[in-house]
């Protein structure tokens, strides 16, 4: 068991920048393309993923001594599915309008590779507290990615943020189209790469 030596702050910062789920690890791309057309969607789905990630990480690191290694992947899936059901029902009850906008994506958090990967790589080898902070880092990293995409697309597409008009014109209406998510992710990834090449 390779217990991590990183401090809690480092764990959070890793998830936010150097191991950012969307732009660096290129995992869970579906929501990044599908529903990043507004900042609000990004924040809500980000919160949902954050909660699922933190709760599943804690659950797995609590139960890690009782899970037989051969059935660990199905166990992870079931734990994630349980927490997704909880979040799904909570969102449907308290924010029905936004829940409808996100559509099927809340339920599909189960299939996001990022959560299973963090459980496999981190939570099953570390105690509860570092697992909690790792979950927080990954969840906020995902939210950061979604909000970045949402900001770029909403600002360029509608000239406003969070539904408020800022500049009065619509610079590039193209970016509000659902399929512009592909282009947007491609451009932002290229910017990340160029930063890496230059420095």
């Amino acid at each position: 068991m390779a217990v991590t030596k990183k401090t809690n702050k480092q764990l959070v910062l890793d998830g936010l920048l150097s191991e950012n789920p969307i732009f660096r690890l290129a995992l869970s791309m579906c929501p990044a393309v599908g529903i990043s057309s507004s900042v609000m969607n990004g924040i809500l789905l980000g919160i949902a993923v954050l909660f699922v990630q933190v709760f599943s990480s804690c659950t797995i690191s609590l139960l890690k001594d009782y899970i037989h290694p051969r059935i660990r992947i199905p166990t992870y899936t079931l734990v994630i599915a349980t927490w997704v059901t909880v979040i799904d029902l909570v969102l449907a009850a308290y924010v029905p309008v936004a829940y409808k906008a996100m559509g099927i994506f809340v339920k599909l958090i189960v299939a996001f590779a990022i959560i299973t990967m963090r459980l496999e790589v981190f939570a099953c080898k570390n105690p509860v507290v570092p697992s909690f902070w790792d979950g927080v880092g990954m969840g906020t990293g995902f939210m950061f990615g979604m909000v970045t995409l949402g900001t770029v697309r909403e600002f360029l597409g509608t000239g406003g943020l969070l539904g408020h008009d800022l500049i009065g014109t619509r610079p590039l209406l193209f970016f509000i189209l659902p399929l512009a998510g592909f282009f947007c992710v491609g451009f932002i990834m290229a910017i990340f790469n160029s930063v890496e090449i230059v420095y």
Binding site: M29, P74, T77, T116, L179, F182, F183, M189, A190, N193
Partner: protein, 309 residues
Amino acid sequence: MGAALVLLVVLAGCRTEHRFVKKVTFEKTNDIVITFAGPVDAAWAKNVDNYTVFEKEDPDILLAIKEITLTPDRTKVTLHFKNALNQSRAHTLMIKDIISEGKSQGAAVLTVKKLYLGYLFSILIGAMLIHNFVFTKYLGLCVFFGTSQKRTTAVGMGITFTIVIVFASMLSWFMYQFILKPIRLDYLQVVVFIGLVSLSVQAVDTILRKVNPALFKAFGVYLVLVIANCIILATPLILADKEYNAWESFMLSLGAGTGFLIALFLMSCVREKLELANVPPTYRGLPIAFIVAGLFALAFLGFSGMAIF
């Protein structure tokens, strides 16, 4: 007026087929053709007031008839409507007191529907091209970008995925319709569906290993990846949401699988060419792949709004 409305609703509800009417079908964009068992009275047939037509779901919006034509043998009546009909919906046609050779044959309430096979086929094509899961619903992207580098990998993944998705969707459909819904556990659908998906991946793995080892050697490596694909979970959720029956579910899952195969194949062809192209260093690898996928999505936008049959 109130009584007439109630009568209308009751009549629309019972939709009995009439013994004197052989067939009712849609034709062209705004025609309905009625075939009678015997010759009908010309003056009766040409009277617009004898026919009432509305979409089954909106009984209070009556559709206006522009003109009525009758064939020379007086057995076929064609109703021409002012506006195009939405032929994907069932329509109700009410005919007042049919008069044939001076005798009354009674009133008729008929349902006009498209051919069921055509409807099934339209579900298949819809899931494959018009609502392609990768390019118009943006699902399954991780696996899509991961396995589209080489054409052989892409085809292998696509075929494996199609087999597993049909198997898993039918299993989930059965589970949802006959177990979860009757005992009102439908809020557990996510947990149950993901379990069934893992189960069917494992089942296909075991069966393939025993039955056809050569095929297993070719496609076995992709089986692990299938479970990481959100389409395989999205399809059972959509089926549960839309309350499809067995055949419709089969067609939708087959369409989802082949749609993914088509998307993978197209993308892998482009990415093989991209290997040789002079791409700027910052765009090499995933960024350019995303932009190519965006161009494909733009092309697939051309299918939207298309209706078949």
